[in-house]
């Protein structure tokens, strides 16, 4: 029983990180049909943003304030990734609309360059970010089951981001414009929505969320220039499995992959577990080729 609970908690924890990464992907892919392979590098940017914030706190501010660095780092990571995402959209991505496979290759190139840039600036070895002391320890749920505060904090953070995204997409004017562009770009443009601005802003938001994910990852382990590549393919699988265009699809996809990945790895071993998850995804796509929750549209090639 205890082991079941802790395995399920592990699964939930993996899912939450996947969800945070996949959220941005689902939005950019759903909206612009752009496959952003550099998304993993935005995670890396966020992680290094947190690292830099910590260095500043260490060197410039009194020690008593050190624990306050994390909220600042979250914000800094978001802003940094948001800004770079905006820049990338304006300079490169907008030339690639309507060519999803080309966008995939070009953003892969961007990712390579960003990784190499990080390697040049921060060095190839991983750096450790010491997490704030108020996240040390864990919550003893029952004898033999301790839920680390860090993981709980990440789950809470993801829930918060999800809620904020929900408010943004479904309850704000900007979100309504975004959905309009997603569902019918030409019609939205005819009604006076600046699709260019919506695109740029959405891409930047997706990148910013990836930045937050990177900041959260610093709590779990050391970070390095290629940290994003570990997560990016899994995050894309979440998008494929969950379907595009609805928040709930991304949530379901992340939960499914995260929990089953953990369970299969527990039952078999790490390498076979991944194979089983992949087979399950392919099997599932036999039944629902467009993913769990797809927005139905009448366009044939939609």
């Amino acid at each position: 029983m205890e082991i079941w609970i802790s395995q399920l908690f592990n699964g939930l924890s993996v899912s939450s990180i996947l969800l945070l990464i996949a959220l941005g992907l689902a939005v950019t892919f759903g909206l612009m049909r752009v496959i952003n392979m550099a998304h993993g590098e935005f995670i890396m940017i966020g992680a290094y943003g947190a690292y830099m914030t910590q260095q500043i706190f260490k060197s410039a501010l009194p020690k008593s304030l050190f624990d306050a660095y994390f909220p600042v780092a979250l914000l800094a990571s978001f802003v940094l990734a948001f800004a770079i995402g905006y820049l990338l959209e304006v300079t490169l991505i907008r030339f690639l609309y309507g060519r999803p496979l080309d966008s995939l290759l070009a953003t892969w190139g961007v990712g390579l360059m960003l990784q190499q840039l990080a390697r040049t600036i921060f060095g190839a070895p991983n750096v450790a970010v010491s997490s704030p002391t108020w996240l040390d320890g864990g919550w003893a749920l029952m004898p033999g089951v301790v839920l680390p505060y860090k993981r709980l904090f990440i789950i809470a953070l993801v829930a918060f981001c999800l809620f904020a995204m929900y408010l943004y997409i479904y309850r704000s004017n900007a979100g309504r414009r975004m959905r309009a562009v997603m569902q019918n770009r030409d019609m939205a443009a005819c009604l006076g929505i600046s699709t260019r601005r919506v695109d740029a802003f959405t891409f930047a938001i997706g990148s910013g969320i990836a930045g937050i994910a990177g900041c959260a990852l610093t709590l779990i382990g050391p970070i390095g220039p290629s940290i994003g590549t570990y997560y990016i393919v899994d995050a894309f699988m979440v998008v494929v499995l969950g379907g595009v265009g609805k928040l709930v699809g991304t949530v379901a996809g992340a939960l499914g992959i995260g929990v089953f990945n953990t369970l299969f790895e527990w039952w078999t071993d790490a390498s076979l577990g991944k194979v089983l998850v992949f087979l399950c995804i392919v099997a599932f796509l036999q039944w629902k080729p467009m993913g769990m929750f797809a927005v139905r549209s009448r366009s044939l090639d939609g």
Binding site: L105, V110, G111, M113, V240, S271
Partner: protein, 367 residues
């Protein structure tokens, strides 16, 4: 330029191919061992590039999983070479992992013919299987691409994880002989090179035949309008499966030859980065033209071997920049640039003499 138009285009093409083939086959005469080995590697990559081009350039399906098919072919050959090197003993790494008997599926790889057949059949069968479960459900475009990338990840984890059977991260290496001949001798290297050149020519001929046949026309139709092709009564799924399998088989063939030249295969060579580099070979040469794939493969592999050893940091920046430049500024690749240049010259010439063609092409240009 006048003298060029006296011979028909087809004759020029044939002369060009014959010259290229002659240059390839006489390479052992004028290249030293190191250069020959490098060229052999380039030619092996050119074979994968041909297959990828069939799939991506002609059918519009982007696979980021060709590293896996390449790797499967390479492992099939490597297993045979490993067994040949060890004689009656089991391969060394199995002993370290505590195996005492050769696993059953290694047993038939003692025969070269079986290993060579498996190097083609395994990748094709895997591609056929994956294609069966995706194309029939109309999973395509980026969805398919992402699935192939996931295929890479799980294959690499599987090969690393099942260390006792695959050699783990170290892969398979330490081969000594093939057919009883030492692999390190100069003659063996030359023979391996000639085999690769012959394989490339054969692959090129097969691809050219496929592309010019009715089959190739349907592939291009699928690329340009999958649903229209379906409405015309063709089932795109079967064509996509077939071309995916052929493409994977070519990658397997290249993998087998690659192992002969390099002497090692490890999971890192089939991981995500090498797989996507294979795509760049095609993109840079010119997708949708067979000769472009070959040119791209030879140029990029040469450049990589020159630059990545001496300036590893700079190489990664360059690689990244190449991805961006090729997709944004020259989607036709090198061949596309040459074509554009030739058309520009032709257009300038025809501006002086007004013909029906020039009027049509000008009016098209306006629209």
């Amino acid at each position: 330029m006048q003298w060029m138009s006296r011979l028909p285009r087809r004759a020029w093409l044939l002369i060009g191919y014959a010259a290229a083939a002659a240059a390839l086959f006489s390479a052992p005469l004028y290249l030293n061992d190191f250069r020959l080995n490098l060229l052999a590697k380039c030619l092996a990559f050119a074979i994968v590039a041909l297959g990828l081009d069939l799939l991506w350039g002609y059918t519009g399906i982007l696979s980021l999983g060709h590293g896996v098919f390449f790797g499967l072919g390479a492992y099939a050959m490597a297993m045979h070479l490993k067994l040949a090197a060890g004689g009656s003993r089991i391969p060394d790494f199995m002993g370290w992992m505590g195996l005492t008997k050769l696993p059953w599926f290694w047993e038939p790889f003692k025969s070269f013919a079986f290993a060579a057949a498996m190097g083609l059949i395994l990748p094709s069968a895997l591609a056929l299987l994956l294609g069966f479960f995706t194309f029939r459900n109309r999973i395509r475009g980026v969805y398919f691409t992402i699935l192939t990338q996931a295929l890479v990840i799980i294959t690499v984890t599987l090969f690393v994880g099942q260390q006792a059977y695959t050699g783990g991260t170290n892969g398979l290496t330490g081969y000594t002989k093939l057919f009883g001949y030492s692999l390190t001798s100069g003659t063996a290297k030359t023979m391996a090179y000639l085999a690769t050149a012959a394989a490339l020519l054969a692959a090129f001929a097969v691809c050219r035949h496929l592309v010019n046949s009715r089959f190739g026309k349907v592939l291009r139709a699928i690329r340009d309008g999958e649903n229209r092709t379906r409405f015309l009564g063709y089932d795109p799924a079967y064509y996509q499966m077939a071309v995916f399998a052929v493409s994977a088989g070519l990658a397997g063939l290249a993998g087998m030859l690659f192992v002969l030249h390099v002497g090692i295969i490890s999971p890192t060579m089939m991981a995500i980065v090498p797989s996507i580099e294979l795509v760049l070979l095609v993109a840079i040469g010119g997708r949708g033209t067979l000769i472009g794939a070959v040119i791209g493969a030879i140029l990029l592999t040469q450049a990589k071997s020159q630059l990545s050893a001496s300036y590893p940091d700079f190489w990664l920046f360059l690689l990244g920049a190449l991805f961006i430049v090729v997709t944004v500024f020259m989607p036709g690749g090198i061949v596309g640039l040459i074509r554009q240049a030739r058309q520009a010259i032709l257009r300038r010439r025809s501006e002086n003499e007004i013909t029906l063609d020039s009027i049509v092409s000008k009016s098209n240009g306006v629209v």
